[in-house]
């Protein structure tokens, strides 16, 4: 074997071994397919979400009240990091230290913060935010592309390490919003999901709220550090609830990405908006998250 061939083998092996595989979840899928009379492939879009939305990160710890790199805990800050991401039904006030080996784990809760669903119109691109919605929330968006399926990959590279359970989401609609002009690099992606039950939707919300913590446990090249805020619950008009938090990712080059996640749930439906910004965070600072989530909640039907 030549040096070039050996080099190719090494590169492919490195690439392949970095691809995490959740064999347990996959076995589950295989089994349920085999147990169905038609035995057809039935994986549904939450896998797209998992592949399309969680962040690229390595070796950092998450502190309350801001982004702090790993190993530099503020002396006065009592170790945040959420081992259990706040449930949609509780206010995230607790702080706890996270061990580097811990995996964020959320348990599905059976309670529902929202009233039982009445006849909702089917999920569609109308369930996604419009240009007017974004503008009302303080973003200078001038166009939105929407359609069935996932939107563009919205947050960073650790997302493919997370599996959202249960995978009952169906259908999903995605949208990308584009800034007016190209003066500053930021972008917006949105997903709307519908699940079989409100409990499923709630579990997925919990998963999303744990992404920031989970990202910090990953040992990834290409990412120098990651930080995350503790998710905050936002009360919305009409009895709805949303949650928001930010993740900060620093690459070895020093480039920083700040990503704002905003998630709203309406019974068995979930809307996720991710806004990212490079180097600065001025755009994110100007976002009216409550308004953004209110619109997202309303559009879920």
């Amino acid at each position: 074997m030549t040096n070039r061939e050996q080099h190719t083998r090494d590169l492919l092996e490195a690439a392949a071994s970095s691809r995490r595989v959740d064999t347990e979840a996959l076995w589950h899928e295989v089994q349920s397919t085999l147990d169905q009379p038609s035995r057809r492939s039935r994986r549904k879009p939450v896998a797209l979400l998992a592949a399309a939305a969680a962040a690229a990160v390595a070796g950092a710890v998450i502190w309350a009240g801001g982004f702090t790199p790993a190993n530099t805990p503020p002396a006065s800050t009592p170790s945040l990091v959420v081992t259990n991401s706040p449930s949609p039904t509780e206010t995230p006030t607790q702080t706890a230290t996270k061990s580097p080996t811990q995996t964020p784990r959320t348990e599905p809760t059976t309670t529902s913060a929202n009233p039982p669903a009445t006849a909702q119109p089917p999920l569609s691109t109308a369930s996604l935010l419009t240009v007017e919605d974004y503008v009302a929330a303080g973003l200078d968006v001038d166009s939105v592309q929407t359609g069935p399926g996932s939107g563009q990959a919205t947050i960073s590279s650790c997302q493919d390490d997370f599996t959202l359970v249960p995978r009952s989401g169906w259908p999903v609609f995605g949208g990308d919003a584009y800034p007016a002009g190209a003066t500053h690099p930021y972008g917006v992606g949105q997903y709307a999901f519908e699940f079989e039950t409100a409990a499923d939707a709630e579990t997925v919300v919990n998963d999303i709220l744990a992404w920031g913590v989970g990202c910090a446990t990953l040992d990834r090249a290409g990412v120098q550090s990651v930080g995350s805020e503790q998710p905050q619950r936002v009360s919305l008009p009409g009895g709805g609830e949303g949650w928001t938090y930010r993740i900060s990712i620093v690459q070895p080059s020093g480039t920083r990405y700040t990503e704002l996640l905003a998630v709203a749930r309406n019974d068995d439906r979930v809307s996720l908006v991710v806004i990212w910004e490079r180097d600065k965070s001025s755009t994110l600072e100007s976002v009216d998250v409550t308004r953004l989530l209110s619109r997202a909640f309303e559009r879920l039907g």
């Binding site: 190719t8 492919l12 392949a16 691809r19 397919t33 090249a221």
Partner: protein, 167 residues
């Protein structure tokens, strides 16, 4: 133990032995949803094993199935090119945070480079240099002659390194 349950148990053991490799193979081949391809491959394997057919070489069968599934996916994409995704790609004004993050990542540099070479050559390179498959197996998995397999490996390797040097 009931025969069906025992078979499922045996199949689970077989699944455990091969699942990670199969998903990664689908991923390296450029599958849109590697887990889905792997799932389908295992379901087909189970159906075959539980029917009257036999499978002499399980890894080779899985490899072949995944190659075909991913190739079918590529075909479908090519035939449905006017979709939203292409529109998005054309209109996207700036790369997403993820794209930029991933670009800095060596593993994605390789995967990106793989994505730039012709699908058949990509298959050949992955089968040869990741799975260490002999040319005869590559030819069988790809449904081509031995000579064509050798040619695809060689040209694929040249292309891959050309793209790696450019990136």
């Amino acid at each position: 133990m009931e025969q069906g349950a025992r078979m499922r148990q045996d199949f689970h053991a077989l699944f455990d032995d091969h699942a990670t490799r199969v998903v990664r193979l689908a991923w390296l081949l450029g599958a849109d949803d590697p887990e889905d391809a792997a799932q389908e491959a295992f379901v087909r394997l189970y159906e075959r094993l539980s029917g009257s057919s036999t499978v002499d070489d399980v890894p080779a069968y899985l490899n072949r199935t995944v190659v075909n599934l991913v190739r079918d996916g590529h075909r479908r994409r090519l035939s449905g090119r006017k979709g939203l995704t292409l529109l998005r790609d054309e209109q996207r004004p700036v790369p997403s945070a993820e794209e930029l993050s991933l670009r800095a990542h060596e593993r994605h540099r390789v995967v990106d480079a793989l994505g730039l070479i012709a699908p058949r050559r990509r298959e050949a390179v992955v089968l040869r240099y990741w799975l260490d498959s002999p040319y005869s197996e590559i030819a069988a998995a790809m449904g081509i002659s031995l000579g064509a397999a050798k040619s695809a490996v060689s040209r694929g390797l040249d292309e891959l390194h050309a793209h790696l040097e450019e990136s």
